[in-house]
Amino acid sequence: MRGFVRNRVVRRVASTVGTLFGVAVLVFVMLRAIPGDQITAGLGTEAAGLTPAQLQALERYYGLDQPLVTQFFTWLGNLFTGNLGYSARNQQSVLELTLHSLPVTVELAVLSIVLALLIGVPLGTLAASRAGSPRDAAGQIVSLAGLSIPSFLLATTLLSVLSASFGFNPNGRAFATPAEDPLLNLQQMILPALVLGFGIAAPILRTTRAAVLEVRSEDFVRTARAKGVPERRLQVRHVLGNALVPIVTMTGLQFGYLLGGAVVVEQIFSVPGIGRQVLLGIQQKEYAVVQSTVLVIALAFVLVNLLTDALYRIVDPRVRAS
């Protein structure tokens, strides 16, 4: 039994389940704390005109007449049967909604991360190659801009300039999945991915710069130089390889946040991702939609963390050993 509890996998699964349960409770309570419910949200001011009998009927329909504890455990129990709830507004189950929105968000997140790495890692390495030089300052300016320009500003500026001056506005058309129209899909994804990627490139750039600077002064780098390793190979194989661990950590962290849905950017570019699904759910007070979607996001976050840990094991043999 002791060995069972000590087992890393078992402990990991237990902590994951605990985390998800915590998220479930928190989101359930927070939603209930917002004034109004699905009935008032759906009917607006007309809700005041409902007779008590009508109200009661609607409450029974939505299950709002049940005690909170019952509501919570009914929802939780249903999750295990694959029933994530139903969205009256969309006339669709939450599962269906999520099956459409999650791939969109994953695609956007992957694109953003790729762009962020393409910007952040080379610029970070370049900045570190001569600390204190003009190229270092340039890197710092890029990362400062990435950190401080709000995404809504960059997004709206890009959108208005490109559509007004160049007539480029793919996001004005109906959203296309990669299966339907891969080219249009890519066009619709590239701007939001660029906006998100630019923001994330900043921390990745800084992490890369710091890690490369640190690794470069390590003894084994000098030893590699002493055995005649040419500079380019030295920078890539010995320096960047060893700087990867913190970069992987930072990337995993950012990827997790992206999966939570970049609500603002998705909204501006009309990308039907998971962040938008939560937002609309909150506006409509569709409890089941919000609760289940948030839980899916939390699960995705946990999975990304697991993936990051697995990546460490590939990058660093010392992690494999322990």
């Binding site: 084994f220 002493a226 005649g228 040419p230 500079e231 060893n242 010392r318 050993a321 322990s322």
Partner: protein
């Protein structure tokens, strides 16, 4: 025969706060093909900088300000970067100092050696990897084929150093720069590795530039010894000659300070002394990671520490000597056995009693850089134990700090300084002053002088002996250095694999060793063949 390496009037300076600080001044040195030349000096003497100037791997702020480094007819001081890259590894190999930090942790050992062959076009792919295995075999690494596929963290220090030497010699260079190649290793391992290095370089006809702080080692291994002091070579000559007739005053001082097995011993205080601490059948078991197995770091150790005496434990790394020290300090809990301090059993003491016990037993550790808080002025560090144990007010503590500094022969003005402004020896004096702050009865010195240069080491040992006479202190002295142990100890215990294999007075152990392991340890000391 014309020299392979001809260093003429070499000067190197480091740029510090916009100013050139000279580190090496007008150094001239010749190395003939196949010859071993040792450069000896204490830290800061410029010996490592001289070596780094040869293959042009000076730190970023260092540069050659004058002179020539002619290697096989070419002046390396003016060679281009591309030229240097072609020479490094292929014609000038390097064996660096610290085996722990000089291997890329993410690359397999075999691949790192093969890389040296690969970048110089000697061999590539499978051929390079099998040559790497051969080289590891030549360096005496058992099971080399399997080992070559492992990563550095799976290697011990000695194994890593073998891999580094294999790497340095991979392309059969004409010159090998060996910068303190074995100073991080145990004496017995050091001996074996140096023997292998000597054999291999003799076979390849490789000349060696040996950088070391160890005069005895230099004399034993080199044909020519150059002594460096404050950036200059003060004396050069055949190895035997320098030891027998040192011409320069500094060399004579260095020779006198080297603790050797014939060094004069501290006189024994008269009369028998009662035991302050008694350790009986002490055992400490650690669980091994990943698996239910356990390892006994200390297995049934018994000894006593008489009042006012020094008891030493010698052994190699992994022998359990530091664990024994930690148990006695109450920093770790024993698995079984007993420690009685002044008649009181340590196990089962409550928190408050343990706190009171700690006042009476104080540690001094090996690394004076790591054991002082870098942001605390020296005085604050020394006063800290007083503050923790609520002894006296601020004014009394300040007075105590001044007295303690005087005891360890440091000026009272030192109290305001930060650790990084101090030398290694000064820092260790501060650590000793801090240990004495609570007027302890027992001081546990865990490799307390091992990181110091010989001259400083001699001063600190003298200070410790003086403090013992003055304050009646008892010492538990943990060291791997038998010569130092002989100088300071009243009783010596030799530890190996968690057990005491031999005990006795210093004379008994050093003059009439009974155990094979003790004899092996003694034989491995440079200059003691």
């Amino acid at each position: 025969m014309s020299p392979l390496l001809e260093i003429r009037d070499l000067s190197v300076a480091f740029r510090v706060r916009g100013q050139d600080v000279p580190a090496v001044r007008n150094v001239s040195l010749d190395i003939l093909p196949g010859q071993t030349v040792a450069v000896v000096g204490e830290s800061g003497s410029g010996k490592t900088t001289t070596a780094a100037a040869v293959n042009r791997l000076l730190p970023g702020n260092g540069r050659i300000t004058g002179g020539r480094v002619v290697f096989d007819g070419r002046d390396l001081a003016t060679a281009s970067r591309r030229e240097m890259t072609a020479i490094r590894g292929a014609r000038i190999g390097l064996v660096p100092q610290d085996p722990m930090s000089n291997l890329n942790p993410l690359m397999r050992i075999g691949d790192q050696i093969a890389e040296a062959l690969d970048v110089h076009g000697v061999a590539a792919g499978r051929a390079a990897r099998s040559r790497a295995v051969e080289l590891l075999e030549l360096m005496g690494l058992p099971d080399a084929a399997r080992r070559a596929r492992q990563y550095p963290h799976e290697f011990s220090g000695g194994m890593r150093q073998r891999a580094l030497i294999a790497m340095g010699l991979a392309c059969r260079p004409q010159l090998l720069i060996a910068d303190e190649p074995t100073s991080a290793l145990d004496v017995t391992v050091q001996r074996r590795i140096l023997d292998q290095l000597g054999r291999l370089t003799a076979e390849m006809g490789t000349a060696i530039l040996l950088i070391t702080h160890d005069l005895a080692l230099a004399a034993e291994r080199a044909d020519v010894v150059a002594v460096m002091y404050r950036g200059e070579i003060v004396e050069t000559g055949p190895a035997g000659g320098i030891l027998a007739e040192p011409a320069h005053e500094y060399t004579r001082r260095l020779l006198r300070a080297v603790p050797s097995l014939s060094s004069v011993r501290v006189p024994e205080p008269p009369g028998p002394a009662e035991d302050l601490a008694v350790v009986e059948d002490l055992t400490k078991v650690f669980p091994l990671r990943g698996g239910g197995t356990e390892i006994a770091a200390v297995a049934g150790v018994s000894f006593g520490i008489p009042r006012g005496r020094t008891v030493s434990i010698v052994g190699e790394s992994g022998s359990g000597k530091s664990t024994t020290a930690n148990l006695l300090l109450g920093l770790e809990e024993a698995t079984s056995g007993s420690i009685r301090f002044d008649g009181t059993e340590l196990a089962g003491l409550g928190r408050r009693e343990l706190f009171a016990f700690r006042r009476r037993v104080q540690p001094v550790f090996q690394n004076p850089y790591a054991s002082l808080d870098p942001r605390y002025p020296v005085g604050k560090s020394i006063a800290e134990p007083l503050r923790v144990h609520r002894v006296g007010g601020p004014a009394e503590r300040a007075k105590a700090v001044a007295e303690l500094l005087e005891k360890v022969a440091l000026p009272a003005s030192m109290a305001e300084r930060l650790p990084h402004e101090l030398s290694g020896g000064q820092r260790q004096r501060v650590a000793i002053a801090r240990a004495l702050a609570l007027s302890p009865e027992l001081v546990v010195l865990d490799e307390a002088v091992s990181a110091l240069d010989v001259l400083v080491q001699a001063q600190i040992l003298e200070l410790l002996a003086e403090l013992q006479r003055e304050l009646g202190l008892s010492y538990l002295f943990i060291s791997h250095d038998l010569a130092v142990v002989r100088m300071i100890s009243h009783a010596v215990h030799v530890m190996r694999e968690g057990r005491i294999v031999e005990s006795g007075t210093a004379e008994e152990i050093f003059d009439r060793p009974a155990h094979d392991y003790t004899r092996e340890l003694l034989a491995a000391i440079p200059g003691n063949r």
